[in-house]
Symmetry: D3
Subunit: 338 residues, 6 copies
């Protein structure tokens, strides 16, 4: 099934052996970004996943593409050109020491690209689903224009559209975010985002205090109803993270189909690499909604998929459907598979 | 004290930095195998441990031998020849993601070797103990013949015989296993195996459900009595693993001497490398039965030894007697030893 | 341009940091094999390169596929199944210490596969070129059948066929080789092989003594004429290696078009990794013959490409057309490209 | 603010990848030592930290100095000369397997140095604080003389003096320790040490049993009162470690100002590297007493700082004031900081 | 002796194990830049070297500073602020495969900084020498302004000024370069640059063809005379590189004092890392002109220093004066120093 | 054949990736020492090689023993006890940058051991050959006593004795050396040493200048005759190293049997690790004299063996007899052995 995602893929640099930045004389090199991560998940589940972006012609840009090709993601719609690939530096946390991210993504190739550089009709021909996130419209004015152009083209081709709201405070203010994102919601069928995202990108006032690891189910239900009523979403979903420490998290999720609220089972995770956990949820949810019997099963698939992501190094969720199903169906014993 | 173990030693290839197989561009290289692992434990406790096997003459075969010599295991009874060393690929799990093993051991040197290639009389001259596992008779028809030849020779020389039942579903069916293994039990004095092994290799019906991490003590006691009565074992023992996840296990053990059931204390383990945990138990139990005051102390030694194995990279249990005794006697505080 | 290669791709295991086998507790992991290497070269030059083989469904088989997908080689004709992937262990030499290869490839998935498992018509539809080597027919009787089936299908579809004779003494005898290979030559348009290959696989008596690093141009010319007359090849070509040591080689090449002999310029190479040098030559020659003005230019491209291969870790030649052209046109100064 | 610490800095060699000593064919290299570690903490908090020691002129001695300069510690009072730098080998423990330290520090440059090699007046000119530990007087008779000379000079310049009692049983007996240390206490304003230290270096009889992980608050309060009354300390403080295993510790602290006992909050730590935890506490406490509003806040800063140390590889505590304050003020959620 | 250098320090990312960019899943991390490299050389020779630049406040900026502090370079004049540190990706070449550099330095902190952010009077107070290169004025219009401000301040304080012309074609055109650089030459006492630099930044027409590795001594002498006459330089100097390959270079140098031409001895170098070779020459020449008996000896020191640089990983030349003198005086035998 | 060597085995610490000492944050760990290296060579050639020494009981001492056991050297005569293992730090040179060694071996276990700790009669029972070097008597007065005790016992048991003179200027003066070594020569049958050794340890005046890489054959012949006449050696031999750089050496050897001088062929070596080259020569020469037809063949074996050592990481020469013979007989082409 042809599924399209659009966004920025970055070079991720993290100190080897989980050192602090100031200790590092070596960086582990992976590539990733919210929408690229979703594309990888979908390719791993057997879909024809297409990632749309722009990357420089140099070898680092090529390496980013190769990281996707290696996993079966289609890269022919990636425009080549521009000067630089966005970078983020990642320091892995441990126990009560949090992970740190330093972004260096200004003026990346995609941030300076224009909607007319992309062949939207070719991209969305025969596509079934389009996924984007709140990051792409935030990276630049051009990013917002590209995202809107993609949404319009997707709708023209009858494609289902999902969004991960993903507010990034380093990229824009809530005012800027809401102005752009509320407009884009008209194209969206499935909206994914937590309380914080809902507040900062769409203007819905949350309860709870995420820094305390306290989850406010009632608050979520109220907000999700409001979101559904305001924008007519078919589904609203979120992950529910309980941050006990940088090493241990609780992890579950919630979906609302306009009628009922489904809560998934909850996982206690020993974290290997939590970056991309939310994207693994989005990828799992898209696959679940496309192939599973009901929203509850889709949600269980998505939360199991994203729990597994936390045990895998890098941004990409390197699990196949069978592995996710095994966990979703209840075997979390970790016994050796011979 | 001369102790003999017989079996296959394999090249183990595991992705560096605990990556998934598809991420790996480097493998950590160790050598190991159930009975070789037992030999290493016994050499570490001060015994003259002899490992019997067959390995190709090439450098990879030599490296396997060197891994044993390095730790003081005697290797002069290892026959050299044949084409290949068995391989297993190991992916380390984490949290709810299980470890995975891919075997590539068909037609290894030992699997194609014949009983007459081994000088059984020299091997068992002056020996006190012989240990084998259910893996060797499973690897090939020749493997079964070699194992039987070794058992017969051991008994001829008055050697105590122990077995770790160790059922491997990739190597044979329960029917095949029971045909071979029930016959071999006539030579066995000490039988080690969990419920699953007892059922699949010997035909005793267990209770409990190991995938649920639920331990069924009553079921074990019933089966162990049946096993003891059927085959006349002097001791029947098993480890009791509670698989909470790939990162955390509960670990204890049980021994039956035909009269009483002894349960060891239980350990909560943060797992570094769980492969070889059962072999470390066998090695510890043999040493315990040979040197400790009673089956209960022997069992405590064995379970402490095997708990420590889970904290050590590789198949081999690199601990000495004093370290095991310290833990068995109660100091699990992990305080720095300066 | 659609170009097809057929053969075995293997897991290559080489001690890290250029250690000897007996020192290694880590292996660098790459994948490669003569025809896969050629496919990578062709993909790097912009062709639609398709690699045909059979690989197990497990993760190691998948990793081999991913190594090709990453570089843009099409993998949809690779059949999945069988038990094992072939392995070769590689010890890098240095100075007067030669590199060593230990093969463990018996009964690999492709060696046990049958011609009817492959959809030859789909594979060669619209193809322009087919390349195979003398290794595939040598790995097993099935391998010989598959190769012949491919040649017949290629010819049916009007595809140009090239072969790299590549005699492997561990796989068959000269008698066996000549029986199979002489028959296959009827399908071949372009034949690549050195004196040793010509003698052992086709029965042409060479001069010179390759262990002495002495090149016998006259002997080559005589043999190439005989080969051309016997089998009607359009081109006969070979690399000319002068093995000064495991660290330093001289490197040039020769092509014969039935009329003239073209000798390339010669390179003095500091070797990083010489495995795949011959395959890089084949890949470069195919591209050269397809796109360059004459056989001499094609040859210069091929020899420059393969000289560069010796400076790159792994089996694959990771260079693009522009880099090869720059060297072929004379800039070997190694000045930093900023 | 100029702060001086005096002591030995050692080369620390620990097996890579947390292997056991007998597995190691590589050591991670860091430099550290109680008082050097304190100096690094203080430099990280913005002070002008000066470390005083003696090191050989060779490159390993230089590397030790460079490790300090890199982090902004002033090294101009380090005397150069002597034959060797002290070494300690560190094996990281895991779960119930304890960490191990092997010392090889006899006859190091500082242990053989004499008080008159140091320019005490220059060292303490304009200094505000002087910190030493019970290790330096223990390494040799010269070490004791140097320490006393430093204390006398510090007092002459009106500098506040703190000590970390830090008993090392490999270096001296309790009798030797008490003879030297009780004399030095006359110069001390702030005394840091746990029950064991208090007993072995100063002769105060503790309660509790640290190997059991049981903390005896009443016992501590009694001893601290006695210590304060005997030596007139302005503050007496200690960390309170609960050793659950080599992987998990509870961590809190206590300070007594002659009037009240302040207990800090307690942290559950997943340990990355526990060496230097006590030194990070000393460094944090000095900074806290110099800059925070009251002993309780100083203590919370110190215990948060030292809790963070356990999550950082090496001896040095690589955290800045803001990171410590964030944790001390309550956010231990480990959420990613973007 | 206080010596000041001004310029950009960058994060350098190079694939580990000398892989190609597209192979890398790890980067070695070092920091460097022309003028920072010169400062390190001077600190290693015992001078008080001050590096002036601007770097972001984040940890990557701090790590750059730490790399200098570690080696004794004074960093207190480095302004902190701005968004990003410049980056360059470096692929190490081998044999006939050239090294490649990809720059990502646009809009770095220093490129956007203004002259008034620097306290020029403090910087040049008591300074003896100021060194800059043609890179800093090329990075941005601000860079040119800063460089000019520094030159003016240096001259006001009576400081000797040296320049390394260092033309970078990715940063500006010859027209732009000449406009800026010819103006700056009025402040310069010592000018370092090869033919290419002299032509592109100052407009002097060279002979020879550097890509051919042919050195044109007569051409150099003519140009150097013209340069000296035009700008009144006290010394004009250049390195003379013969690029045999990326692995092997010939290396010597030339200096002109307005009267005589001095040619150094020539070295055949096996290259470990050639980046920073020219900077090591500048650092050696400054030290040589300040401390050696005559320009010829200064030149021999500079060329020996820079030859050694080629054998050292990273941008910085980690050699002390004694090591350079030993080589300059003739012992290039490489015998082990015990 | 039982062959005994006596001496110190040390922990060798060398910066990973051939960095300079001040760059290293990791050390490669191997064990080695002149006589241990000889024992490894002899075990590799199939002899029963026994290494005699003293090592601490701790894990680092055990690791040294394991490094020998791994390669088949008998270690049962190694006395356990004492405080420390000797250490040497090794920085690998490159091109004109020499390798550096820093010793830290004072007061090692063997240096403080006494002759009566060793059971000389057991050690030399049935032995055929005893080898020692000039290092052991140099490490301490005890070392000299042990060496003499061993020589006396060897002679009592009719064992052939060889020495490698191996002068170490950091350990003693020529006067001290000559006093001890001239006395020991009465027990020696085979003397190995270059001009420098002959002068400094035995007092024979050499010609030539080794720092210039000039070999003075006539001078050697004169000295060797004098040595033979003075001490009655059966053979006098030396390697002839031409130090072109730290990367490239010429390598040959010379032996004198009291009648004729035999010069070996010469090798041009690209050096991987030159430490232990001389020991590999001694090991090869002992094997050659015991098994080859004449001194010339013995010498060719020894020089080929030691040439190969330069291509192998670590102190030990990891080659077998067949590999050495292949090279000695003339194939230095380095062609891949498949």
């Amino acid at each position: 099934m042809k599924i399209v995602t659009l966004g920025e893929i970055m070079l991720r640099l993290s100190p080897v052996d989980k050192q602090r930045f100031v200790q590092a004389d070596g960086f582990d090199v992976v590539y990733g970004g919210g929408e690229a991560n979703v594309a990888v998940s979908l390719a791993n589940y057997g879909h024809d996943a297409y990632f749309v972006s722009k990357l420089p012609k140099h070898e680092i840009g090529q390496a980013a593409i190769n990281s996707l090709r290696k996993l079966g993601v289609h890269t022919e719609y990636i425009v080549r050109g521009g000067e630089r690939i966005g970078i983020y530096y990642l320091e892995h946390g441990a126990s009560m020491r949090p992970s740190k991210v330093i972004y260096d993504r200004t003026d990346s190739a995609i941030a300076l690209s224009k909607p007319e550089e992309y062949d939207w009709d070719a991209i969305f021909k025969d596509a079934k689903w389009f996924h984007f996130s709140g990051i792409t419209p935030a990276i630049s004015a051009q990013g917002a224009k590209i995202t809107k152009a993609a949404c319009i083209a997707a709708k023209k081709h009858g494609v289902t559209v999902s969004v991960d709201l993903n507010y990034r405070k380093k990229l824009w203010t809530p005012e800027q975010a809401q102005k752009v994102m509320r407009d884009l919601m008209q194209y969206v069928d499935v909206c994914i985002g937590n309380e914080e995202d809902a507040e900062l990108t769409l203007g819905f006032k949350p309860g709870g205090d995420v820094t305390k690891g306290v989850l406010d189910h009632k608050g979520y239900e109220r907000i999700f109803k409001e979101m559904q009523q305001t924008f007519g979403f078919k589904y609203v979903a979120t992950t529910l993270r309980e941050s006990h420490s940088a090493s241990d998290n609780g992890w579950s999720a919630l979906i609302y189909d306009g009628k009922s609220f489904y809560y998934s089972k909850s996982y206690d995770i020993r974290i290997v690499d939590r970056v991309g956990g939310g994207d693994a949820f989005s990828g799992g949810l898209i696959h679940g909604l496309l192939t599973k019997a009901n929203p509850g099963e889709a949600l269980e698939f998505a939360v199991a998929a994203s729990a597994l992501k936390h045990t895998i190094f890098g941004d990409y969720n390197l699990v196949d459907e069978k592995e996710v199903d095994t966990l979703a169906k209840g075997d979390a014993s970790g016994r050796v598979q011979r």
